[in-house]
Amino acid sequence: MKSQYAMIIDSSKCIDCKACLAACKQVNDLPEDHWRNWIKYSEQDPQSAETHLVHFQPGGCMQCNTPTCVEACPTRATYKDERDGTVKIDYGLCIGCGSCIPACPYGARYRNPITRKVDKCDFCDFWRNNFGLEPACVSTCPTKARIFGDIHDPKTRAYQVLRENSDRVVRLSNPQTETKPNMFYLKNTAPKDWPKPARTPDPIKAMLCCLTPGLQGILGASILGALVMWGKQIFTRSEEEQDDRESE
């Protein structure tokens, strides 16, 4: 991969002011009641908590390295873009079937009721690529809890922060589904056990595991049969000729 853009979040700084949700919704024209990002809330154990009783954890699509959502998409309308490491949606190809939605352990995807296609965070791809602007959630954050950058480029702050904190960084995942997310939480974040196992819808699962090899087999047998029949025709003289010969 050429670049890998990632988000590094110090969730201990988050005050749940919702600026990131507002900014994202604003610049990406999201429909009512649907969000590309979220803030998860957890109560800390007063005995063990350092300073605070509650913890706020911002999140969004993790632009995973082995994304289960991409696996679940039959057309590859969603795909991992090799150029910047984000998981993108080709809106021309997406028909909004929604197979990818339960396939995401983080619930990062939703179906836009107006466009009827699936949508999710793309690290403000439009704003970055056309106008060189940061993701809106990063710019707006009052406590600057989010650091964004290419973690393959040693010159970026993101790379450096990640390296400095490599022994403490937390990546959220479900034990049944490791997708190698590109969202890194510094220090202790909570909650940690909320990602769900990826759930690919049954028809897609069937296609992935069994239907494709099955159909390949059937088609192969069919073609083989046709070839055998054709072979017989080519390499043996016509039936009538044989019959004639035998009857002579």
Partner: protein, 738 residues
């Protein structure tokens, strides 16, 4: 921004080629584009959807949703604002804008925006309007100004405004027109804080150096939700760097939940806590005697005064354990002078709020933190030239004093909203019959809405200059549409805050004014011309600003290139070897001036009223996602705060048979509202809380409608006895199933 909202080539071809009778498909084309909050009804304005790659321009401005005035950069495409980003250069806002700042675009393109002048047709509050041209509107307004001035003197008019960069032009107009009446929203908010600190330090408001403070006691203030820049940001930084935060609040706000210690203090008893802290610090000699000697006066009186205010006594009053009070006093004194009682902002709580806040100020004085790192900072020496200065005319027939003069011993000269309201209703001492309101909404901002209604009924002519049909505009005679701050040019203003120091900011239009709106400056100019006062307004704003910034090329350059001028002046030691502006020249731990007036020289504790059986004390609070009635009808912010349920403790709710989400009736001695219950552990059993701004009567706010209950409707009309500021936490309510 993705392109999913545009009609894709595939979609178009597919629809064109489908050929089959699919009327449903055609009907759904509308869904691809329409979002009511984004489209504008007139053809004057671009309905260009964002998401295209046309040239993007970046223009500086400042947010106007709340008093913070955070610097922003507006991204504009084809004369339409498509994105708002923070201005990273702005030291006060530390390069951020919050959810409300982002929602400035929704305010700009609110489908319910006022578009042209409106004149009331039916009864007041009926909602029947006729459209006027600006000529007609200003002619009529000028006539009314004259008529009321002729009948009742120039003081028959009252001018009131909100926190806005053009508001001082309303003040100018009031002055040259000749009215003393300029009571405004500040007397519903922080007068008591300003008074308390002013009388101790000789200046107010105080500027807390949160960033460098090692020990912060926050009483009632809720900086992680009631955002004030830079304090909210600096508080998080300070905590991460090891500073300690102690919060006193009857609610478990986000600030309380993120503090090192939170005490659900009994509402109204804060002074007891402060007095006890002082008792411990003095008794155990934890203060710096040199600082006390050099910089303060009245220490001996203070020492005597607090002797009996022991932690044990305070524990009985506040519910905070005595040993904690003692410990906090010691910890605080140890961290001093980089320790503070945070001054907060809204101090419109109790009838003795001035004294409560004065006790905060005195403790800060005792800690020796004034004009020092981590303490309270002095006002910086950054001022602009007074542009287009004038001498206001003298009007012979004017009364001697304001209508609400002397209603409280320590009022500020502007006059106070609630006392003015009484004067208007009672026509006592003389009638006040005209109201000019700009960027303010008394119907939702003042307690006891029925009284505000009566006040407006009592007026002969009410003019509202606003961007939307607020409840006050709804009750007005003449409604004049103003542009949002993003469409305006403003004079330069100075603002100082916390650890960031002072800055200069201004505005130039990011997009041209929409519809037929006019800034209040233009309106006042038009009125002035018609009232033979034209010479006081015969200038343009650019000219005005030039004069303000005369001889300040570095300020002009910074404004042009960075969108803001950060003073970066020295924060500390501004009073080194200089006397304070108090009568003694020092920090007044005991006030001789109060004594002369027959008031307590040092605050005396007053126990708050007991909450009656089966009742609750109603408190108001703030939320990071909306700003009172200013953001009502904001599509984006309504996603976060769509309603204002009543916070009620589970124990209390259970006794009343109320479950979370139930419809309830909340009643006070003046009125009742219907709303919804939010049962939560985060509030004391004897207290309930509602956000303000909901329960609008206006039919002109279609996105929010009449949702929720109006806190203004419920609150009783209490004021601070010393100063006249609103006291919004003195109302008791009952709650039952609706």
């Amino acid at each position: 921004m993705n392109n999913s909202n545009k009609i894709s080539r595939r979609r178009f071809l597919a629809l064109a080629g489908s050929g089959l009778a699919s009327a449903g498909i055609g009907g759904h084309l509308g869904n691809l584009k329409a979002r009511a909050e984004d489209t504008l009804p007139t053809s004057d304005n671009s309905t260009q959807e964002p998401g295209n790659k046309d040239k993007l321009e970046s223009r500086f401005s400042f947010c106007n949703i709340c008093p913070n005035k955070c610097g922003l950069i507006a991204r504009v495409q084809n004369n339409r604002v498509v994105r708002l980003d923070p201005n990273p250069e702005h030291s006060k806002s530390r390069g951020m804008i919050c959810a409300r700042g982002n929602a400035g675009i929704q305010q700009l393109y609110d489908p319910d925006r006022l578009k042209y002048p409106l004149l009331r047709k039916g009864k007041r509050g009926e909602g029947k309007w006729q459209r006027l041209s600006w000529e007609e509107a200003l002619d009529l307004a000028a006539k009314k100004f004259r008529d009321i001035a002729d009948k009742y003197t120039r003081c028959g008019w009252w001018f009131t405004w909100g926190a806005d960069a053009q508001a001082h032009f309303v003040h100018r107009f009031a002055n040259v027109f000749g009215s003393y009446h300029i009571a405004n929203h500040e007397s519903l908010c922080f007068w008591t804080r300003n008074r308390g600190f002013l009388d101790v330090f000789g200046e107010g408001p105080p500027y807390p150096d949160v960033l460098n403070s090692k020990y912060i006691i926050m009483i009632g203030a809720n900086r992680f939700e009631s955002l004030i820049t830079p304090d909210s940001i600096d508080l998080m930084t300070a905590i991460q760097q090891g500073s300690k935060l102690v919060v006193l609040d009857p609610r478990r706000t986000k600030t309380a939940a993120r503090a090192h210690e939170w005490f659900p203090v009994k509402p109204g008893t804060d002074m007891a806590f402060i007095l006890a802290l002082m008792q411990v610090i003095i008794k155990e000699r934890l203060y710096d005697p040199e600082v006390i000697h050099k910089e303060t006066t009245g220490f001996n009186d203070l020492e005597k005064h607090v002797r009996s205010y022991t932690p044990e006594w305070a524990a009985r009053e506040t519910g905070i354990p005595a040993r904690d009070i003692r410990r906090i006093a010691r910890e605080m004194a140890k961290a001093a002078p980089a320790a503070m009682v945070y001054p907060g902002r809204r101090s419109s709580t109790y009838t003795n709020s001035t004294e409560i806040w004065r006790s905060f100020a005195i403790l800060n004085g005792l800690l020796g933190n004034f004009d020092r790192p981590g303490g309270l900072l002095a006002r910086q020496d950054l001022s602009l030239h007074e542009a287009k200065s004038y001498l206001a005319p003298w009007y012979e027939d004017n009364p001697k004093e304001r209508a609400d003069a002397h209603k409280a011993p320590l009022m500020f000269e502007d006059g106070a909203m609630q006392t003015m309201r009484d004067a208007v209703i009672n026509e006592d001492p003389y009638p006040v019959k005209g109201l000019f309101a700009y960027h303010t909404n008394p119907m939702q901002a003042m307690p006891n809405r029925e009284k505000t209604r009566r006040m407006l009924e009592n007026m002969e002519f009410v003019i509202s200059v606003d961007i939307k049909m607020s409840d006050t505009a709804w009750m007005s005679d003449l409604v004049l549409p103003a542009p949002s701050a993003l469409e305006r040019r403003d004079p330069a203003s100075v603002k100082q805050a916390g650890s960031a120091g002072a800055c200069v900011y201004t505005r130039d239009p990011v997009v041209p004014p929409l519809f037929d709106s006019k800034s209040v400056f233009e309106i006042l100019q038009g009125l002035a011309k018609r009232l033979d006062l034209g010479k006081f307004f015969d200038f343009g704003l650019e000219e005005y600003r030039e004069e303000q910034l005369k001889g300040m090329p570095e300020v002009k350059k910074a404004l042009r290139e960075k969108g803001v001028y950060n003073h970066n002046g020295s924060l500390y030691g501004l009073y080194k070897d200089k006397p304070l502006r108090t009568s003694s020249g020092k920090i007044e731990l005991s006030s001789a001036r109060y004594k002369d007036k027959g008031l307590d020289p040092i605050p005396v504790y007053e126990r708050p009223q007991e909450v009656p059986q089966n009742s609750f004390r109603l408190v108001v609070g703030r939320n990071a996602c909306y700003t009172n009635s200013n953001t009502q009808n904001n599509w984006l912010l309504l996603q976060f705060v769509p309603n204002n349920p009543l916070w009620i403790n589970p124990g209390a709710a259970k006794k009343l048979g109320i479950r979370d989400g139930d419809q309830i009736k909340v009643s006070s001695s003046v009125s009742h509202v219907l709303t919804v219950a939010k049962v939560t552990q985060d509030i004391r059993e004897d207290t309930v809380c509602m956000w303000s701004g909901f329960g609008n009567i206006s039919d002109g706010l279609t996105l929010v409608g009449h949702k929720g209950g109006s806190v203004a409707e419920l609150l009783e009309d209490h004021i601070d006895t010393l100063n006249g500021n609103a006291a919004l936490h003195e109302t008791f309510v009952t709650v039952k199933q609706a």
